[in-house]
């Protein structure tokens, strides 16, 4: 396995990520504004018996949201490259196809992690203020690992969508659907017992949703509730594995019709 070509690809994608930093920052702050408003509204609305302090509950969810948005961006770029046939250049380079594909997936994942890092720190501070305990270093590493895997899976998901939708409009639509389903049917914004009472049909989906697992895993270690279960990590690892493979496969096949 040659590491160097993969690193060249990652480096290229990083460069573009930071070229668009203001655009990304704008996008994320818009998301954040929305979410903070939601947090305030929910805190008022939500029955304190169900969620005691919504803001603290919500902070780990916010981290996942930022991570997801940043890791998903790679798909938009790849979709544009395929449409403008810039992918022809990438495909003509003296790099093996799978090195190219893995590089793209990895870059998307790392971009998510880097973008999310300040939010994770914020979350850590917020939860420390609330609970007065820091997580054990091993627990913290587990959170980072889980978030990294989610990021890789998200990057893979976005790339798979990007190369299998021909027009930009279709890509945007698909992205909207994915966002909606993944966030709505998850415990990112509200806990499982709320889903159980309000929309019991969605419980199964919410349980297996890697975003739920990610948010709840962070909450388990940062807030002590819900309890940690190894299932969360397995679920997330499977998500990463499946979508990273799918993206690699799709990228290799579709970009060379």
């Amino acid at each position: 396995m040659a590491i160097k070509p993969v690193l060249h690809i990652v480096q290229r994608d990083f460069k573009y990520f930071f070229r668009y930093k203001w655009w990304v920052a704008g996008m994320i702050s818009m998301n954040l504004a929305d979410l903070f408003i939601m947090a305030i509204v929910y805190t008022r609305m939500v029955n304190p018996d169900i969620i005691t302090d919504y803001f603290v509950f919500f902070a780990p969810g916010l981290t996942i949201t930022a991570l997801f948005a940043a890791a998903f961006m790679i798909g938009r770029e790849i979709n544009m490259e395929v449409r403008r046939e810039i992918s022809h250049y990438m495909l003509s380079l003296p790099i093996k196809r799978w090195e190219l594909a893995i590089g793209r997936v990895l870059a998307g994942g790392l971009r998510g992690i880097i973008y999310m890092a300040p939010l994770l720190v914020t979350t850590l501070i917020i939860t420390y203020i609330y609970t007065s305990v820091f997580p054990h270093p091993l627990q913290f590493l587990t959170i980072v690992l889980a978030l990294f895997l989610i990021s890789i899976g998200t990057s893979g998901l976005s790339i798979a969508l990007a190369v299998s939708t021909t027009s930009f409009e279709k890509y945007i639509t698909a992205r909207g659907v994915v966002y909606y389903v993944l966030f709505f049917c998850s415990t990112v914004f509200y806990p499982m017992n709320l889903i159980q009472t309000a929309l019991p049909q969605l419980v199964l989906l919410a349980q297996y949703n890697p975003l739920s697992c990610g948010a709840d895993l962070s909450r388990a270690f940062l807030l002590g509730n819900p309890p940690f279960s190894p299932f969360m990590l397995v679920d997330i690892a499977l998500f990463a594995l499946i979508f990273a493979s799918l993206a690699t496969f799709a990228y290799m096949k579709v970009t060379q019709k």
């Binding site: 060249h8 460069k15 668009y20 046939e85 495909l91 003509s92 380079l93 003296p94 790099i95």
Partner: protein, 318 residues
């Protein structure tokens, strides 16, 4: 020496449409082979199959010892391509583009430092090296694209219409740089629809039309090969009738007549000195006033016309 590129029944279909049709062509190591044909002839599609960017529908090609279908990764290690449409992201600068390209092609940091500057100076973009290509003219973008090949210096350089949109001085600079690349031992496969470019730059020219190879040989041999070694171009005051055209073709030693327009003819003939008086006489008898007469040597356009009945310009319009 075996050919460095060998296309064997190379074919590409897009749906029902055949863009490249059973192409059999060999490129010798160290030559510049010009692939000449009008727009839509299938040149770009052929090149993309050789760089393994798209897959052949039928047949295959060998790049060095590697079959592009079987070992595309290895085939690509021998190849560098400058695309017809520059493949540049708008936020990039020439310096970034070339430095990254050189890195991917295996140049060390030290080599890159020297060579990126050298190549940017060669294509006259050193002063604009840090500007984003978004603001560049078509010609400037084209020069960034060709610079990739010049810095990479691949064993096989594939260049697709390398001087389109570039002014004549710039064209000569690039032709010279491509010749230098060949003299260093690279093989160059050049796609073009410009007759002059194909003629002056190529060691051999392969002429393509509608996905098919018409003929491939040295430019001089191609031009010598067409019957009617002299070409007379005649412009008339009014349009020629079909009947008159038929009679014109009957004149001894007139090999072929091509109607560029109804009042503009290209006559291919042998021993022009003797036949020309007969031709002028003929037009007088037909009451067709001759506006101008010009004699020329056959060009690659005439070779193309010999095979297709069309000039390249007419074929472009089709």
């Amino acid at each position: 020496m075996p050919p460095i590129i060998r296309m064997v029944n190379l074919t590409k279909k897009f749906g029902e449409f055949t863009a490249v049709d059973h192409l059999n062509l060999e490129v010798e190591e160290g030559e510049i082979l010009g692939l000449l044909g009008p727009n839509g002839a299938g040149k770009t599609t052929t090149l993309l199959m050789l760089t393994t960017v798209i897959k052949p529908t039928e047949g295959t090609a060998f790049v060095g010892p590697y079959d592009v279908g079987q070992e595309p990764d290895k085939a690509r290690t021998l190849i560098g391509m400058a695309f017809q449409e520059p493949k540049l992201l708008w936020v990039d600068s020439p310096w970034d583009i070339l430095n990254w390209h050189a890195k991917v092609c295996g140049l060390s940091a030290e080599e890159r430092k020297k060579k990126v500057r050298w190549v940017l100076e060669q294509v006259e973009l050193w002063n604009d090296r840090l500007k984003s290509v978004h603001a560049f003219s078509g010609g400037m973008r084209k020069r960034v694209e060709i610079a990739k090949i010049l810095i990479q210096r691949p064993k096989i350089a594939i260049v697709d219409e390398p001087t389109a949109q570039i002014d004549i001085v710039g064209k000569h600079r690039i032709w010279n740089m491509l010749r230098e690349l060949r003299d260093e031992g690279s093989t160059i496969l050049l796609a073009t629809n410009e007759l002059y470019e194909a003629d002056v730059l190529s060691d051999r020219v392969a002429i393509m039309h509608k996905g098919k190879l018409l003929v491939c040989d040295e430019p001089k041999k191609l031009k010598d090969s067409i019957p009617g070694g002299d070409v007379v171009e005649i412009a008339l005051e009014k349009d020629i009738t079909t009947a008159a055209l038929a009679k014109l073709k009957e004149i001894p030693r007139v090999v072929n007549v091509l109607t560029i327009k109804q009042n503009q003819l290209k006559i291919y003939l042998n021993q022009a000195e003797e036949v020309l008086p007969k031709i002028t006489e003929f037009f007088m008898k037909e009451r067709l006033q001759v506006k101008s007469i010009r004699m020329s040597e056959p060009s690659l356009d005439d070779v193309f016309a010999h095979y297709t009945g069309l000039t390249i310009e007419e074929a472009q319009r089709e």
